[in-house]
Symmetry: C2
Subunit: 329 residues, 2 copies
C-alpha cells in the first residue's frame, strides 16, 4: 500500500487537524469527541443542520460546514460510522430551540448511531435519509445506499435553514430533494482502505465495476470496459428510468470524481451526460463537476441528477460559504 501517513492509526486524526487549520476562517475542530463546527456562531432561532459519516469521502462532510450549508459535521474513522457521542456533542455545541435536522446517508450504522445520538439530546429533531444510489432496486433489503446526492440535500436544506425555515419545512424540503435525486457510479479500480492495506477488489485491465458505492465494495456487475459514451449511456439510463424526467424538466447534473480520476475525464463524462439528457429535451439548469464525495483513491466517477423546480433552484443558488462549495458570499 502506497500512501502518505505516519501510522495507520493516526492518519485520520492527524489529517483532520490539517482540515481545521487550512480552513480556520470557516470551521473549527473539536477533537474528542470529534466534530467540526462553524467558526461563526449559529443564530439562536435557526434550525441547525448536522451531517456526518465515515472518513474517506472528503470533502464530504467537513468541507460543507459553513454559512448556507452544515452547522456541524461528525466524521467517523475511515469508512466507519461516527459514534452517537459525536452526534450528541455536536448537537449540544450548536443546537438551538428551533431544532436539529440530521442528514444521514442510508447505512445501517449511520442510521442507528445518528438515532441514538438524537435521543441523547433534548432538542427537537428530524432526520433526512439519503438513499440515492439507483444501482440497487428500491425494494433492496437494506434500502439503497446514500452516495453523492447527499451534498445536494445538505446544500438545499442548509439554504432553507439559513433562510429561516422551521424544522418541519426543512424536513419536508430534505425529503423532497432526497426523493428527487438519483445517482450511480462506476469504478475502474478499487480503493485501498489504509487499515486493510490492499485493494478491496481487483479488476482485469479490460474490466470495469458498474454500480459501485463509496466504500470500496463491489458494484452490481463487473463488465467489459466500454467507451465513455457507452458508460454514460448505462448510468444515465438507470437514473432516467428512476427519476423519469419529462421533456422540458430542469435538472441539476452532478458528475463526481471518486478519487483518482482526473478532471479531464470527469469533464468528458459531464459533457456526454449533458448530451444524453439534452437529446431527450431535459434542461441542464445547474451543474457541478469535481471530487465532492470520494472513495479514497478509487478511480471512477458517479453521475447524480436532481429534478429541479423554482424553489429548489433558489435553494441551490443561495449563498454558501464552506471550504469546498462557495458562491454568493
Amino acid at each position: 500500500m502506497k500512501k502518505f501517513y505516519n501510522t495507520i492509526e493516526n492518519l485520520f486524526n492527524e489529517s483532520i487537524k490539517g482540515v481545521a487549520k487550512a480552513h480556520q476562517d470557516i470551521l473549527k475542530l473539536n477533537p474528542d469527541p470529534c466534530y467540526i463546527t462553524r467558526v461563526a456562531p449559529t443564530p439562536k432561532n435557526k434550525v441547525v443542520v448536522i451531517s456526518g459519516g465515515g472518513a474517506g469521502h472528503e470533502p464530504l462532510h467537513a468541507g460543507f460546514v459553513g454559512k448556507g450549508m452544515l452547522d456541524a459535521a461528525c466524521p467517523g474513522q475511515t469508512f466507519t460510522s461516527p459514534t452517537p457521542d459525536q452526534m450528541m456533542a455536536a448537537a449540544e455545541a450548536v443546537g438551538t430551540e428551533a431544532g436539529v435536522i440530521y442528514i444521514v446517508k442510508n447505512y445501517a450504522g449511520d442510521i442507528m448511531n445518528f438515532e441514538i445520538g438524537a435521543e441523547m439530546t433534548d432538542f427537537p429533531s428530524e432526520s433526512v435519509i439519503v438513499a440515492d444510489d439507483v444501482s440497487l432496486p428500491k425494494d433492496h433489503s437494506t434500502g439503497r445506499r446514500g452516495v453523492a446526492g447527499t451534498l445536494i440535500v445538505e446544500k438545499m436544506v442548509g439554504a432553507a435553514a439559513e433562510n429561516g425555515a422551521d424544522l418541519a419545512t426543512c424536513k419536508a424540503i430534505g425529503d423532497r430533494v432526497a426523493n428527487s435525486t438519483a445517482s450511480m457510479g462506476v469504478a475502474l479500480t478499487s480503493c485501498t482502505i489504509p487499515a486493510l492495506g490492499e485493494p478491496t477488489f481487483t479488476l482485469a485491465e479490460d474490466e470495469m465495476e458498474m454500480g459501485v458505492g463509496i466504500h470500496g465494495e463491489r458494484g452490481i456487475k463487473t463488465m467489459k470496459l466500454g467507451t465513455a459514451t457507452e458508460i454514460v449511456a448505462i448510468i444515465a439510463k438507470a437514473i432516467d428510468d428512476d427519476l423519469k424526467p419529462q421533456k422540458g424538466q430542469r435538472i441539476l447534473l452532478h458528475v463526481n470524481g471518486l478519487g483518482a480520476t482526473p478532471p479531464m475525464e470527469q469533464y468528458l463524462i459531464f459533457d456526454l451526460a449533458c448530451q444524453y439528457w439534452e437529446e431527450r429535451g431535459v434542461i441542464i439548469e445547474r451543474s457541478l463537476v469535481g471530487e465532492y464525495t470520494t472513495a479514497l483513491d478509487m478511480a471512477g466517477v458517479s453521475i447524480t441528477v436532481t429534478l429541479l423546480d423554482d424553489e429548489l433552484i433558489g435553494l441551490w443558488d443561495a449563498p454558501v460559504h464552506t471550504a469546498n462549495l462557495r458562491w454568493g458570499c
Copy 2:
C-alpha cells in the same frame, strides 16, 4: 490503460467542451484555435492576463479564468505546449491598449510558443516566467521547471491587473511573486499519459520518487518510501534552503494533490508542513490545500511556499471568481 474516453485523439477536445459547459456563467470556449476567455468582457483600460500550457494539469489553467485572475487560457494537448496561433488568437480576442501579460511555466516549448504568439500581435506585452521547482538547482541548464507555484503568480498578477495596475507594475509583481515562490513534489506512482497507454515510470512498492515535475518524468531521486513526517522534512528543507524564511516571516503554504492522492493525505501533509515551519517561527498566514496543478492520475503531492508581505497578502485576498478559486465576490 484504464481511463474514461471515447478515442484518445478526442479526449481533450471533448473534455474541454465539458469544462466550458459546466462553467458557462464564468468562461467560454473558442474551440479552434483553442482558448478559453471570460464571459464578462474585459474593461478597455485593464492589463490582460493570459496563461496556458499543456492539458493534463487541470484545473490549471482554464479553472482560473475569471474576474480577479486570468482573462484567457490556452490549453495545449496533453502535456504539450499550446501553439503560437492559440496565444495570438486569445490575445486578439481579449487584448487591450493597456497591454498583455503572459504567465508562462518554464518549459522550452511553452516559452518559445508564447514568445512567437506575443510577437504576432500588436499589443504591448510582458512575460513572467515561473520556475518554482527547487528540486532542480538554480543553474540547471534549462532552468527550473514551473509547477504548482504558477497559480499563485496568476492569482496575484490577476488581482493587480484587476485593481488597475499598469503593465510594468503587473510585470514587477509577477517577477517578485515568482522569485518569492518555491515548490517541490513527490510521487508514489507515475501517471499514465493517454497517448502512451502505460505509466511513464515504475516504482517498487516501497519506493517513492522525490522531486518530480508535473509531466510524468522521473524526479531527482528514487528513495525508500518514508513516513509522512520524513517526506515533509525532505521537501520542506529544500524549500527552506531556497527561500530562507526568517523567524516571523509570513508565508502562503500550498499543498497540491498531483491527481490520485486523496484529500485525507493532502491535509495530513499540510498539517505536518505547518508544524515544520511553525517550529521555525515562520507564520502560516494563508493556505491552500487541494488538487490545483495535477499530473493526470499521478499519486503524489507537492508543497509550495510563497513569502508574503502586506502587498502580496492584499493581492491574494482580493476577490476572485473563477471555476476553481472563488472568494470575495
